[in-house]
Symmetry: C2
Subunit: 336 residues, 2 copies
C-alpha cells in the first residue's frame, strides 16, 4: 500500500524492489563514454531485421528478455509489462513484446517513458494487484529521424542545440519480494509548456518540466539535494541541463553537485558530433539500467532520484503552430 | 490494496468508486440510436477550432471538465489523470489536458484506452497513492481518417467490413471514497495477433483479444456470464462482435445474451452508412460513460464487464508487411 503525500506525490509502504535490469544499445552508444557499462552493444543497428522499426522492436525484446534472465526468472513470472516508445502508435513496443504474451499496458510518455513505466510498475506491485511488473522502453536514431525530422538520405544539417536520438533500450523487473534496489516513492509529472516550438531545442523545452517535478518531490517529502548521490534527469542534453539547474537555483534549490543528465553523458560531443547530447526514450532507459542501477546494487550510491523527461508534441502539432508540451516523471531509488 | 487472483487478473479490496462521468460526442454520433444518452452533442465537428486535431483535444477537455463538474469537484481535486488517443504521439491528450495542470500519465492502448485508463485509475486509487484519479480518451473521425486511411477529400470508397471512427470523448473520475459505481476488479490484456492485416477489418482482428480477456477474467474469478447484466466490448463492430461471441462459445462460454458492443450500438448502419459500426477510442469511452454507467447508477444494471479493444498497428507497420496486434483490457463494474 502506498501513502499519498500530496497531489501526484506518494511514498510506497512495502517498497517494491528492482529485481533485475538490462541495457542494450547500438554501435554509436557503445563507442560513447558509457560503452563499457551496457549489457550488450549491438554492432548492427538493423539488428538483423529488414527495417529500422523492426530493429527497434528487437532491441526492446532483447532488453526485456535479458532483464528477466538476469533476475533469474522466466517470462511467465512477469504479471504485467509497461512499455512505450516514440514511433507512431508505439509499434516499437507492440511488435517487440507481442511474442512474450505478458499482459501488456501501453504507455505514451515520449522520453519520460522509463520513469513512467517504473512509477506505474511500482504502484501496481505495491498495490498487490501483481507480484511482478516490468518496465521497458526503446528508441532508435533512424526511426526517430525520419519520423520527426528528415529522411536520413536527405542529409539535413543539424543545429547546435539538436540532440542525437539514441539507439537503445532499457528494461527493469519490479518485484514485491526480492531485489537490491528499493523504490521508495514517486512523483507524477504535470504537463509544462513554456512556449518553445523549436524541435531542435527539446532540452530547453523539457528543462522546466524536470525542475517542476524535482522541486515538487523534494518539497513534499522534505528531502534535500544532499540526501541523494545523484539527481538524474532524462535527456535534457547539455543546454537543457544547465537550464534545469538554473531554474531550481532561482527557486532556492541547488542540485548542481548531484545533477547528472543521461543525454549529456551518453555521447562525447566533440568526438561523436552529437551536439547537445543524446535523446530518445532509450537514452534515459539505457543509462539508468546500464550505469546508475549497478551503482545502487554495488553500494557506490545509496539514493538516486530519476526524473526522465519527455516532449509531447508531434510534427503535425508543430506544423499547426503549437508549442511543445513537456513532462517529467520521477522515481526515488534507494540501496536496499 | 488489491488482491492478485492470477497473472494480470486482480480484485480490489477497497473497491474504488466512479464518482462522476461524462460523454461528449459529435453531430453524427448525436443523430445515432444513442444520441439522447450523451451529455453533450457538439454540432460543429471542428468545435470552433481551426484544425481537427485541435478539435479532438477540445472534445477531451470538455469531457473531463464535465465529468469533474458532475462529480461536484474542481480540477485541483484530481490527483492524476490517465489519457491517450489515436493521433500520432497522442497529441489529442497532451494538448487537450495541458491547461488543466493535473499530474498526467499518458497511455497508448489504441481503442482499448478507456478500459486501460479505468484499470490503472483503479489500481492507483486502490493503492492509496492518490485520492482521486481520472480516465479520459477521445477520437475524431477526421483526424483518424487522414492519418490511418486516406485524406477525406480523396473520397475513398469504404469496404463492407470497415468501421466509422467516432468523434467522441468519454471521461470518468475514480475516487477512494464516494460514488455509486464500484470497480470490483480488472484484467490486463495480452497482445493477440491472429495474422489479420486488413485495416478495414479491425473488428475481426480484435475479436480474439476480447474473447481471451473475458475468458481469463471469468475463469480466474469463477464468475459466469449470467452474473452480469452486460458484457460490453469496445468497438468490435457488427462482424467482430459475432466472431467474439463465437470464439467464446467454442470454448464453452456463452455470452450471447449479455453481450453488447459499443461499436455496433452507436450508429444505425442502414440510416447512417457506417457499415460495420463505430470505432475509435472515443466510441467505447462515450458509450460507456453515456449509456452504460447511468444504468449502474439508476440500478437498472447491477454488474457490467467492460472490455474495450484496441488494434496496436500503424500504417507503417502494415506497409512493412506486419499483421495487426490487438489487445483488450477489462474492468468489472458493480452498482455500489
Amino acid at each position: 500500500m502506498a501513502k499519498r503525500i500530496e497531489r501526484g506525490v506518494f511514498l510506497t509502504e512495502n517498497s517494491p524492489k528492482i529485481e533485475g535490469f538490462a541495457a542494450v544499445v547500438g554501435p554509436k552508444e557503445g563507442k560513447g563514454p558509457l560503452g563499457e557499462y551496457f549489457d550488450e552493444v549491438i554492432e548492427d543497428s538493423h539488428f538483423g531485421k529488414d527495417t529500422w522499426e523492426k530493429a527497434e522492436s528487437h532491441f526492446q525484446l532483447e532488453a526485456v528478455s535479458l532483464a528477466i534472465k538476469k533476475s533469474g526468472l522466466v517470462k511467465e513470472d512477469i504479471d504485467t509489462i509497461f512499455s512505450g516508445d516514440l514511433i507512431n502508435q508505439c509499434i516499437g513496443s507492440a511488435y517487440g513484446l507481442r511474442e512474450l504474451e505478458i499482459p501488456f499496458l501501453g504507455l505514451y510518455g515520449a522520453c519520460s517513458t522509463m520513469a513512467e513505466g517504473l512509477l506505474l510498475s511500482t504502484v501496481i506491485t505495491d498495490s498487490k494487484a501483481v507480484n511482478r511488473a516490468a518496465a521497458v522502453t526503446s528508441s532508435h536514431f533512424s526511426t526517430a529521424e525520419r519520423q520527426f525530422r528528415f529522411p536520413l538520405s536527405y542529409g539535413g544539417q543539424r543545429t547546435p542545440t539538436s540532440q542525437w536520438t539514441c539507439t537503445a533500450s532499457g528494461a527493469a523487473v519490479i518485484s514485491r519480494e526480492k531485489g537490491e534496489i528499493e523504490i521508495v516513492g514517486g512523483c507524477v509529472g504535470k504537463i509544462t509548456d513554456m512556449g518553445i516550438s523549436d524541435i531542435n531545442n527539446m532540452g530547453s523545452a523539457m528543462a522546466p518540466a524536470a525542475a517542476e517535478t524535482i522541486k515538487r518531490y523534494l518539497e513534499a517529502t522534505s528531502l534535500k539535494p544532499e540526501d541523494f548521490d545523484y539527481i538524474v534527469t532524462g535527456d535534457l542534453g547539455i543546454v537543457g541541463s544547465k537550464l534545469a539547474v538554473e531554474f531550481l537555483l532561482k527557486q532556492g534549490i541547488d542540485i548542481s553537485q548531484q545533477h547528472r543528465d543521461c543525454g549529456a553523458m551518453i555521447f562525447d560531443p566533440d568526438e561523436q558530433d552529437t551536439h547537445c547530447g543524446g535523446s530518445g526514450c532509450g537514452c534515459s532507459g539505457s543509462v539508468l539500467c546500464g550505469y546508475f542501477l549497478p551503482q545502487l546494487v554495488s553500494g557506490k550510491a545509496k539514493n538516486i532520484l530519476f526524473a526522465a523527461t519527455g516532449a509531447l508534441m508531434s510534427p503535425m502539432s508543430l506544423q499547426q503552430g503549437e508549442s511543445i508540451p513537456t513532462i517529467s516523471h520521477l522515481v526515488h531509488l534507494r540501496k536496499g
